[in-house]
């Protein structure tokens, strides 16, 4: 479904007036207004720019909240980071903006695939690459296509990774997982675990069928994806949340999952025999971009924050966050990691990353007919 944003209408808050009229504007409203916590009437932007409150309100996926992540930023700038960790989907993240009074959020971290649309609707602030540490970024992340709209930059890539095969190295060899076809192997019956999130899984299946780009499919091609899923279904023993899937692999009951470093690295570090690879058919990437909302009251603070989270210190910590490991686009950050960590994250050879590693990966996009995709997934699960 498409998110319709209209900042102008929002700020006018028609419904609010209508509501207050309805509730009676007498004593009731008086009492309520009297004890309203920092009533969030939108202040004039001019004054806001002149003297920004020393805070920045951030809606991010997990990792940012872990101990020590933001300390040096807060100390250096004196800006307090108000952080809300989002535990839903990108669509919900965007919806949350709508359910909060205008100007509540300054920064958020959606999948970059959502950025162009947000830019088109003027929900996000344009960024100047010169203000940001993109110069330190590895290729091609300095010019990651989905961070741009009509040639202008709106998002700063923050972390990324891939969906390939994560496998139990005691049960399967590297040769076994060369191809996605291994998923159909009789010995893996009931041993395949999948995340309950249709876009990456179906993207990988699309690649399996040789469709490239994987998220722009004809009705016929989508039908083939569905058919492939139906064939795969008996092999799949679990479709669960991140926690469940990872747990399932750790238990040794399941041997393989369509996933990359964000699952495998954690398992590996905890001593479970898991490795990850991109099979020959390829895989899809995942990523998160940092954006500044167009109606922010604190653009300067937000830019400082973007500079920090794009910088080496933060990125190197984010790469090995407790929540999940990820690859990071800042070369200096990668260089701060240990040799082992880089190897684990497929970032040992930074110069040839694009050529060797990314060649076979397609960016995770948002298909036009996303509802149909979701429906197929639901049917697949219900089988």
């Amino acid at each position: 479904m498409t998110q319709k944003f209209d900042a102008g209408k929002l700020s006018r808050e028609i419904s609010r007036r209508e509501f207050l009229k309805w509730a009676g504007t007498g004593a009731a409203a008086g009492i309520l207004a009297g004890c309203a916590p920092q009533a969030a009437a939108t202040p004039a932007p001019a004054t806001a720019v002149a003297e920004e409150e020393k805070i920045v309100n951030v809606l991010a996926f997990s990792g940012y909240e872990e101990p020590g992540m933001l300390d040096s930023f807060e100390k250096a700038t004196g800006i307090k980071v108000n952080l809300k960790i989002h535990d839903g989907t990108d669509d919900e993240m965007i919806a949350l903006i709508q359910t909060s009074p205008a100007g509540t959020w300054d920064v958020m971290t959606p999948t970059s695939a959502y950025v162009p649309n947000l830019a088109k609707e003027k929900q996000v602030m344009e960024l100047n690459p010169a203000d940001l540490p993109v110069g330190d970024y590895l290729k091609p992340f300095d010019k990651w296509p989905t961070c741009f709209y009509e040639g202008k930059m709106y998002g700063l890539l923050n972390r990324f990774g891939y969906y390939g095969l994560t496998y139990n190295s005691e049960q399967l060899t590297a040769a076994d997982v060369q191809s996605l076809d291994i998923l159909m192997d009789p010995k893996l019956k009931g041993k395949v675990a999948l995340f309950d999130w249709f876009l990456p899984n179906m993207g990988v299946v699309s690649k399996w069928l040789g469709f490239n780009p994987p998220y722009r499919l004809s009705a016929d091609q989508l039908g083939q994806v569905k058919e492939k899923l139906v064939q795969l279904r008996p092999q799949v023993g679990l479709i669960g949340s991140t926690a469940q899937t990872t747990q399932a692999l750790a238990s040794g009951e399941f041997w393989v999952a369509i996933a990359g470093e964000f699952v495998q690295a954690g398992l590996f570090m905890d001593g479970h025999p898991y490795l990850a690879t991109v099979p020959k058919e390829g895989g899809v990437t995942w990523d998160q971009a940092v954006i500044v909302l167009a109606n922010t009251l604190r653009p300067q603070n937000s830019l400082k924050f973007l500079n920090y989270v794009g910088g080496p210190e933060f990125q190197s910590k984010l790469a090995v966050a407790r929540a999940y490991y990820s690859m990071v686009p800042n070369r200096k950050a990668a260089e701060l990691l240990t040799e082992d960590q880089r190897k684990l994250l497929n970032m040992a050879d930074l110069d040839n990353l694009e050529k060797n590693f990314l060649a076979n990966l397609s960016p995770r996009e948002r298909p036009e007919n996303i509802d149909e995709w979701a429906k197929i997934w639901d049917e697949f699960k219900a089988m």
Partner: protein
């Protein structure tokens, strides 16, 4: 003799049910406690080894400590305010007479029959319409909805046990309404106020869905736990769960005198 034996045999399935129910209720808690001491990150058997690492992590995690502090602040506020509101309301319900009293009494307890998710969403829309920002204050206001009626019911039950003649005796001996309230009613209601505080504090401390919808940055403990569980399978929550469980056991056993205590015996 045969009859007695049969009766005694008839008890066995009942005792088994009790034991089994107890086991099932404690199973998840046992699970949490065990894995809070397991050095491995994932909650799978076999265990990796004994470790206090998750407790250390918990103590050094400022976000958890902030959430704990926020929860304590909100729950204390909810406990105190709902008990005060509950006491005043219960006193009036017991002592005053007015039209539609039955209707009002019923309305006052309806929040207990409305699912939290519904209250949460309605307040989210409401506060949004009023242009309020979401904070601990909105969580506090939201959680009061169910806790004020709860406090009111607990305290009212106690007030109904106090013979009216005691207050009348005080009036007769020269006390006004407030004086008799302070000298007679209040001291006799204190046990129920303690129960009310304990209950509302713990209900608020554990409340998830209202807090989830009504706060922005200031997380309460259940939201923090939820976020960690959904996104990061972090065993630190096992450490927290274990500590919360044992602390509440202590509170429950300390408070049992009040919670299950015998009602007022006539002087």
């Amino acid at each position: 003799m045969v009859e007695g034996l049969k009766e005694r045999l008839g008890r066995i399935p009942l005792i088994l049910t009790l034991a089994l129910t107890g086991a099932v209720i404690y199973l998840p808690i046992l699970f949490v406690v065990i894995f809070s001491f397991n050095s491995g990150r994932f909650q799978v058997f076999p265990l990796k080894g004994f470790s206090l690492v998750w407790y250390q992590k918990m103590l050094s995690d400022t976000a958890f400590m902030d959430a704990l502090r926020n929860s304590v602040i909100v729950s204390l506020g909810v406990g105190v305010v709902s008990t005060i509101f509950g006491f005043l309301g219960a006193y009036s319900l017991v002592k005053a007479e007015f039209r539609f009293k039955d209707l009002l009494s019923t309305l006052l307890i309806t929040p207990l029959a409305v699912p939290g998710v519904l209250l949460a969403i309605s307040l989210r829309v409401y506060f949004y319409s009023l242009g309020w920002s979401f904070s601990l204050l909105t969580v506090f206001l939201g959680q009061l909805i169910t806790n004020v009626p709860l406090a009111l019911m607990v305290i009212r039950a106690r007030l109904l046990q106090i013979p009216l003649s005691l207050e009348e005796a005080a009036w007769d001996l020269g006390a006004g309404r407030l004086r008799s309230l302070a000298e007679v009613i209040l001291p006799m209601t204190i046990p129920s106020m303690i129960v009310s505080m304990l209950l509302t504090f713990t209900f608020s401390f554990d409340e998830f869905i209202i807090a989830y919808f009504l706060t922005q940055f200031e997380l309460t403990l259940p939201i923090k736990i939820w976020a960690n569980l959904i996104t990061g399978y972090d065993p630190t929550v096992n450490a927290i769960g274990t500590i919360v469980f044992f602390l509440s056991l202590v509170i429950v056993f300390f408070g049992q005198r009040f919670i299950l205590g015998k009602p007022y015996q006539k002087g």
